[in-house]
Amino acid sequence: MGLLSHPITLVADWLRNLFLGWGLSQGLTTVLLYLIAAIVVASLANGWVIFLIWFERKIVGRMQDRIGPNRVGPYGLLQPFADLIKIITKEIIFPDKADKPLYVIAPLLMDAAIIAIWAVIPLVPMVGMDFNVAALYTIAVGAFATLGIILAGWSSNNKFALVSAFRTVAQMISYEVPTVLALLVPVLLAGTMSLQGIVEAQHVWYIVLAPLAFLIYFIASVAEVGRTPFDLLEAESEIVAGFHIEYSGMLFATFYVGDFLHAFTIGMLGAVLFLGGWRGPGAEAYPILGLIYLWIKAFVVYFVGVWVRGTLPRLRIDQMMNFCWKFLTPLALILLVEAAVVDRLLLGFTPWGRGLVHLAINVFIGALVIAYARAYDNRRKRERPLAAKPGQYPVARPPQPAAEAQSD
């Protein structure tokens, strides 16, 4: 029972005895312990966002051949703090026509929904809760985030905000379908909805058993967060700033922070569901190692998201909807059937044997999908060839400035 092997149990027991020693009742002690645990986890999440904001700006800046934040502190590390201090002293504007209670509730609801996901993430082995519907819980709190966006758009009393909110909600609910279906695959393979149980069942990481489901989950989650290339909802060039156009000061910052936290949270969920969560050498003996493993895995998934964001251009809304409904959803349905039928036939296999068969079938399905997509693309090109000849720009070019009078 060393500090290294059971640090959390040790601290919890110490605190419990401390509170009991003060003469508090058993129930109240439990409530206090839970409160402390919740505050620790939520602060961890929120504090981490400060680093993420710096990291993402720096990395995306480098990817796009810029320097990124570099003025405040070494490597611009203190930039987020400067931003925080600035934005916290900004005026919060309440538009005259806004529906004020809802206008304030909306960002709080959205941010709270994202923080709430952290309640069920198994950060370390053994400790933490074994909530038997945790996987669905992560979807359920997402419903409140959607609600927050509708409220923000509607209560702002602004056409841009409302149009954007509706687009966002249409996008979020559309991409929730492949998310839910892809999430069903690890639940089915593990035979439980408890995230702790899913991690424990991953003797072989589910990314081996279901790589395509992981991809779908990742893409659909990124789209649900609404990051580039799925950031139509706040396409500055089209609808000004999106559903939070009227927001300012800390209310706006709440949306902004929620966005970053959500991005990392989906990395966390991806790591828990498909990358073995806290699993790693020595994690069972030293739970703190498990936390570090989980954090690294989550960070890798998050980094891929940032990478995609820094690289790809924005999609058009019809392309985005088509991609969801006509590609991801059917593929997720096929994968679900595949996982259900194949896993039943592999009952007696060892974990690795099972994993390799699943992997082979997934690769096969993936190859088929790519071949189909190629064929579709070729057919489309044949049917509707681009007007431009090779060597020319395939897009309409602005008229060449024959005279200087063109420019204004």
Binding site: L147, F166, G191
Partner: protein
Amino acid sequence: MTAMQIVFLITAVVTLFAAFRTVTTPNLIHAALWLILALAGVAVFYALLNANFFAVIQVVVYIGAIAILMVFAIMLTRREMRDRGKQTSGRWWWAAILGAVFFAGVTWMIEAVALPSQPTAAVPASSIADLGKALVNPNGYVIPFEVASVLLLAALIGAVFVAWTRHNS
């Protein structure tokens, strides 16, 4: 009075108030939001009943989908969103009397019957798996299970058929 009972009473007051506002607010969007609060209250009841799965499903299905669908429908069917004028029909007092009588009658019935205040057993840990097994068990609910999927298919076909006309887009 235990802590659970206090939680129950608070939830009951909030839920019923939200439900009352749902049926009385003139502004339809506000009515939809009150409805969402009432539905969330029902989810808390499910949690208090140890029906974890249903508490979560309540939020996913009702708040995440049905309420959103309603908000969309409200926005689609108003030429202007602010609702003016009376929202209740002239015979609302009839409805009020009927509701009150119904409530009184049911309450009287509930009080007349001796009901247990303790559950007969704890909820087994495997209740969700049991539900899953029962839903696909030929001696259980496999017919309702498959009929439900046909119902959903029919509902989707019907709804898309009714709502969607090409010239309307």
